[in-house]
Symmetry: C2
Subunit: 387 residues, 2 copies
């Protein structure tokens, strides 16, 4: 990501602007303190921005509008180059505990989650992902000795690359005893892609009143909100084995792999549709729909169905809708802002890729805000501070 | 890196092929067990290689010879795209301990080390680095609250980007309590660049008998061999404060930031010199000079001067030259294989960039081996297994 505070990894949700009841479990309580992280992040943003001029030595230039967006974009002449590094977050802790409880490693799903964190951000700018590099930093050499887990990780990584039609270029498998905790692994992915042809760039300059908002279904919690989800386990008598739906444990439900959306964005391009803007719904939940800096109003008239695991988390954490939708994806993993006449075709193209979708709202002239009409929720621009 | 086993991060040195005395401290004893890591690495290599065909969906193709080299290269038409992700390793543990002992944070140097791990690998294929992404995964939010350390990290990262004329695109600053140890940070960098024009590609197809080997000076241990260096502290009565040279503590000497070599490779190109091959001397020490798969003999006639910290480590660990040169860079951080007539000019160009250099050897027809003549050391191709 591009130093948009708190975008892109599992622990990265700012305390939502909500009234809470004493039994509500919020992100504050889940243990991430942004007052400590933000000064460094702001210093890093400023220093990073100042290095853009270095590209002139090579005859290139940055696309300024990509700073603050989900991937960094450089004009290299015939096309734009987009790149990113993304951390999975703490979802491995759920997989580790479920492996202990069930004997089954779900690191195949974890691999897909990690790649999704990078791919789903990279495609928001209109890039086609081309190369993924793997970053698997373990707490010691012995982490790699668990053959079942290792094979699941490799198989899931390969499979996700194939789904996204990217080459797995290589990676790092360091053993970092003393830095990564024993028995744990820190997973991340970097991704490089091209915006090609250049008119695929979707940083929002074509976004405007009259556009439609198409929401693409999530598969569950994805990889954001896991600190909250893990904290919640303490309240459940059967812990991760508690059923969230008949035959579906909380742990297994959490481990549903994050949906990979690049097959949809590539299919859209082949069908002649260029989104005006895209938002990957990660940390901040639906507030992420307010990501673009333009003064525009977003009106949601149709809600996606909510995966059972998210309904369960909302109920168990005693969150009202305002808090739940400001923290979790609530069934919408990715948002496309497209010309109104393309909206229904976007839905059909997404469904053809096996991903449910809805024409869910409209973009209108007006002050920056998001109205989720079926729920009576409104957020203003001040409720999402990413730049 | 490109799954060349053990290249590129601090802990990544295989046990060198050497006879040891009972008091010798080897990498085996420093605690990294490659028997556990290698099966996963081989499985990952195979799976990664199988994904290359995915690029055909986009009209592109991989450069097969880059698999097994230090960066992955894709032909995207007008130029080649090179990308990489690299881990710093455990050098932060030295900086943490020295900060405790002296009150001074050297995370500015650590930042340069991290970027050097990525940049110095990326340039081996002939790429100009363009964009660096930062990966700073801390053991908790509070890690970022140390203002002196945070400012040093940001300042060092920015400065290294400027030295390498790359744009700092963005990054990740996750707080990973439960995965990264409390008070620690896992640092990595991803880097994307272009081989432009394509004739800059230096994967070794022009490497041949008659070429000269030019060695570029290291600044010290760089970021490889740190597990050994840290283990050694247990043998030193004054620990990190032991002097390795008058007024220079072991800890400070270890923290000399890794030399950034991209100013040299860029200056070479501007001077009309294209190396036939390059080797970044990291894990495996000088055995890395055997990296290219061709059947060629490498004869070293001139040794670089050895930084005091490496002489000290060799003495304290009671390593013979064979073991020291197979583990540490021993004064040579980067190797250029160039046409003989260009060799002296390479030295002058490197010196003009502030980096000492030597015309150190020659490439000859013959069986794959490296002769370090002044030391009477010979390694065969079987002493470096990277593919």
């Amino acid at each position: 990501m591009n130093y948009a505070p708190t975008n892109g990894h599992a622990d990265a949700t700012q305390p939502p602007p909500s009234t809470t009841t004493p039994t509500t479990l919020s992100y504050d309580q889940a243990g991430v303190n942004y007052d400590l992280i933000d000064p460094l992040k702001i210093a890093a943003q400023r220093a990073a921005a100042s290095t853009a001029s270095q590209l002139a030595h090579h005859g290139f230039s940055e696309i300024l509008a990509s700073r603050g967006e989900s991937a960094y974009v450089v004009d290299v002449g015939p096309f734009y180059l987009a790149s990113i590094v993304e951390c999975l977050g703490t979802k491995t802790l759920v997989a580790d505990e479920m492996a202990r409880l069930t004997g089954v490693s779900r690191y195949d799903a974890i691999a897909q989650d990690t790649i999704a964190m990078a791919i789903n951000d990279l495609i928001t700018v209109g890039a086609t992902p081309l190369v993924v590099q793997a970053y698997w930093a373990a707490g010691g050499s012995d982490w790699f000795g668990d053959a079942q887990r290792s094979q699941a990780l490799v198989a899931g990584w390969k499979s996700a690359c194939e789904t996204c039609q990217v080459a797995w270029g290589g990676g790092e498998t360091p053993a970092l005893a003393g830095i990564v905790e024993s028995g744990r692994v820190d997973l991340a992915a970097s991704c490089t892609g091209l915006v090609n042809p250049k008119q695929r760039l979707s940083l929002g300059d074509k976004l405007g009143a009259g556009d439609a908002i198409v929401l693409l279904a999530s598969s569950g919690i994805h990889a954001n909100g896991l600190s909250l989800a893990r904290k919640l386990v303490e309240r459940l008598p059967q812990g991760y084995l508690t059923e969230v739906a008949p035959g579906l444990s909380y742990g297994d439900a959490l481990l549903a792999p994050t949906t990979l959306y690049s097959p949809v964005t590539e299919a859209l391009w082949k069908a002649g549709i260029t989104p005006h803007y895209c938002a990957n719904v990660t940390g901040h939940g639906w507030r992420k729909l307010l990501r673009h800096p333009a003064e525009l109003s977003y009106r949601i008239h149709t809600l996606p169905s909510v995966p059972p695991v998210l309904t369960f988390i909302q109920q168990q954490a005693r969150q009202d809708d305002r808090e739940a939708y400001s923290t979790l994806n609530m069934g919408a993993g990715f948002a496309l802002y497209v010309a109104a006449e393309d909206a229904q075709r976007c839905v059909e193209i997404s469904r053809a890729q096996g991903i449910e979708a809805w024409v869910a709202g409209t973009v209108e002239a007006g002050p920056k805000c998001l109205d989720i009409e079926p729920l009576g929720i409104r957020w203003g621009g001040e409720d999402l501070q990413l730049r």
